[in-house]
């Protein structure tokens, strides 16, 4: 599926050559470890109502970790609607949710095309599942809402290019960001939700230093040597319910408590993010 609408840049090599200072080189072996305590999420900046034309919108920015070349996550989400459905579509007693997640072409090391690739569609489906649980769909019969999240900058480490396996873990961070920002935008658009939903990521990582792997929340893949497993969770704090769970990795089934611990941490992370969300929403009014 190629994009014929526009003139695309050359596929692949679109990364500006990074002049690598020796410092970062030799640490590349053991890349600069995690600077935060394992139970802390990165600082995030959330603001609603950034796009006047949309009926609801929000912007989320996650602090870049201290080291050079590592970019933080920057997301903007716009919500259009509720609007009447196209005439072709059948009657629906609920609001029809359609979610689009799109990486800006320059958001990642590997240039993204303008057309949505499978991974972006995949993210969209995850996001849809997460939000469906949160909104009260029957408040808006026969109407639809479009939720468009554009990832302006995915948090990726330019230095660590070899470990392309990280990209898959980046997806999780991106998803959690998408969920949080979309929830804020939904609230801004005035679409009924049972609760604010935020995303959180917890990962089981093993670093060179410590022998046994540890569980951290909101991991930056480039800060860890190996990520054994990770889960991204969308959580409704006041109802204590999970609307979306995405686990990936490799865990022995023999001890499920490891898995449950991971999920708990994920919920923690989500709850932390939710506090920011609530605060931000509180400020917007009055």
């Amino acid at each position: 599926m190629s994009d014929r609408r526009r003139i695309n840049g050359p596929v692949g090599a679109t990364i500006p050559p990074v002049s690598e200072d020796g410092a970062s080189r030799e640490v590349a072996g053991s890349r600069g470890g995690r600077s935060r305590p394992p139970n802390a999420i990165r600082k995030m900046y959330l603001k609603t109502g950034v796009t006047p034309s949309a009926s609801g919108s929000a912007y989320l920015e996650i602090e870049t970790s201290g080291r050079s070349g590592v970019s933080g996550l920057k997301l903007s989400c716009t919500v259009h609607g509720p609007r009447s459905l196209p005439r072709s579509s059948p009657f629906s007693p609920h609001i029809i949710l359609s979610t689009h997640v799109k990486y800006a072409p320059f958001a990642t090391r590997q240039r993204r095309g303008y057309l949505r690739d499978p991974s972006e569609r995949d993210l969209g489906t995850h996001l849809e599942a997460a939000l469906r649980g949160a909104i009260i769909a029957d408040r808006w019969p026969k109407s639809g809402v479009d939720i468009i999240v554009s990832i302006i900058e995915g948090d990726q480490d330019r230095e660590t290019s070899k470990t392309q396996g990280d990209e898959s873990w980046d997806l999780m961070n991106a998803l959690s960001g998408c969920i949080t920002v979309a929830s804020a935008a939904l609230a801004d658009a005035g679409i009924d939700c049972v609760d604010t939903v935020a995303g959180g990521v917890a990962a089981l990582v093993s670093d060179k230093g410590d022998a046994s792997p540890s569980i951290v929340i909101d991991p930056i893949p480039s800060e860890h040597d190996r990520i054994l497993a990770a889960c991204c969770i969308a959580y409704l704090p006041t109802r204590d319910e999970v609307t979306n769970l995405w686990f990936k990795g490799d865990l022995p089934a023999s001890d499920t408590e490891l898995y449950t611990k991971l999920v708990e941490k994920g919920i923690q992370a989500s709850a932390k993010a939710n506090r920011v969300l609530v605060e931000c929403l509180g400020e917007t009014v009055g």
Partner: protein
């Protein structure tokens, strides 16, 4: 999209289904036990033109065919030595695919390309992408699989999995597709390598000499898990846990999960890192590994709600003059009247679902045993 295709059930039917399924024990429309799968017919090696193929027919008539084709491909040189500057060219076709590369025989997620074809759905449909992502995610979750495709430092096998759903998607096809893929991979053979070292590979023409991608003998000394993963669809209604739900059952699900598990016949873990997590499981016993979990958005959220008599004007509910933005009357759920579920699921329920899959002698065990029975032609 495949999971939230419209179910043509009236609120009354939904309410009845939900009630029946939340009984203890639940009463399923087709009379299955909660943990019972639909009976299926399976055969492998149906397509001599492929490296491996399988066909599974569920009793309800849904049918899938998976063909595996392998091609030799030159490995792109992304080496630890030049990590700083090298980046991978033209990964444009990538999308679904994960792995964590460990060990010298690094596997690459791009070595596996999995496509799903569902009749009547565009192949770039979100649901199709979701299915494909889920299947390959489970496949690649542990780097072990991609490593099997390693030929030498310059070449590797590129594996194409084409997953075809033959029948129209009656129920959510995930379990079917996953099982078929599993069998196809089990039946997959690669020609035996005759060349040594890093020279251009050439292979033994004798198909009989071809080695299986997943060696048969369970006493293999390979450290990787000796079987491809399976993805199970499990849902919860009330406090009942139901496996392999049919379309109607999925329509009243409170929550639905897709859980991917693989086994390794040896107690040795995949990687040195997980070694010590893996509390000593008996070497003989099959020890499962949890690879991935995804929440499936149940179509129940899109079902039409029933109207309780209290709110039904036919029963004389006075529809008072409402000022705008007074939304549909918010009422407590009335017994026996269907309401589309709101919110998510309690973490405990989720945990219970996963537990049910993973526990020793649980459903995953049964399925894998059942699949063992299938003879690989």
């Amino acid at each position: 999209m495949a999971s939230t295709q419209h179910v043509l059930l009236s609120p009354a039917e939904l309410a009845y289904l939900h009630a029946a399924l939340s009984l203890t024990p639940p009463i399923r429309p087709d009379g299955r036990a909660p943990a019972q799968f639909r009976p299926l017919v399976a055969e492998t090696g149906i397509l001599p033109g492929t490296n491996g193929s399988a066909r599974i027919c569920f009793a309800d008539g849904t049918e899938a065919i998976v063909g595996v084709k392998a091609e030799v491909e030159r490995t792109r040189l992304v080496d630890g030595a030049t990590a700083g500057t090298e980046w991978k060219e033209g990964g444009s076709a990538r999308g679904e695919g994960e792995d964590d590369d460990g060990g010298d025989k690094a596997g690459d997620s791009d070595w596996v390309e999995l496509t799903v074809e569902i009749p009547g759905y565009r192949d770039d449909d979100a649901g199709t992408a979701f299915l494909a992502a889920m299947l390959s995610e489970a496949l690649l979750a542990d780097g072990a699989f991609a490593k099997r495709l390693w030929i030498n430092r310059r070449f590797h096998w590129k594996l194409y999995l084409d997953v075809l759903l033959i029948s129209p998607p009656l129920s959510y096809p995930l379990p079917l597709l996953s099982l078929t893929t599993h069998l196809a991979l089990l039946a997959t053979r690669l020609p035996r390598l005759k060349s040594e070292g890093d020279e251009d590979p050439f292979f033994d023409d004798d198909w009989a000499a071809a080695r299986h991608l997943f060696p048969r003998s369970s006493s293999s000394t390979t450290k990787e898990s000796a079987r491809p993963p399976v993805t199970l669809l499990v849902m919860a209604v009330g406090n009942n846990i139901i496996f392999d739900p049919a379309k109607e059952e999925l329509a009243v699900a409170d929550v639905a999960l897709a859980v991917s598990v693989a086994e390794d016949t040896t107690a040795a873990a995949t990687t040195a890192a997980t070694m010590d997590l893996d509390d000593a499981a008996a070497p003989a016993a099959r020890s499962l590994r949890l690879l991935s979990i995804r929440t499936i958005d149940p179509p129940s959220r899109l079902t039409p709600p029933g109207v309780p008599n209290a709110a039904n004007s036919a029963y004389g509910a006075t529809t008072a003059q409402k000022q705008p933005e007074a939304r549909t009357a918010e009422a407590e759920a009335v017994e026996g009247v269907w309401r589309a579920p709101r919110g998510g699921a309690k973490p405990l329920v989720m945990a219970a679902l996963v537990q049910k899959v993973l526990e020793k002698g649980g459903v995953a065990d049964e399925i894998l045993d059942a699949l063992d029975a299938v003879d690989l032609g």
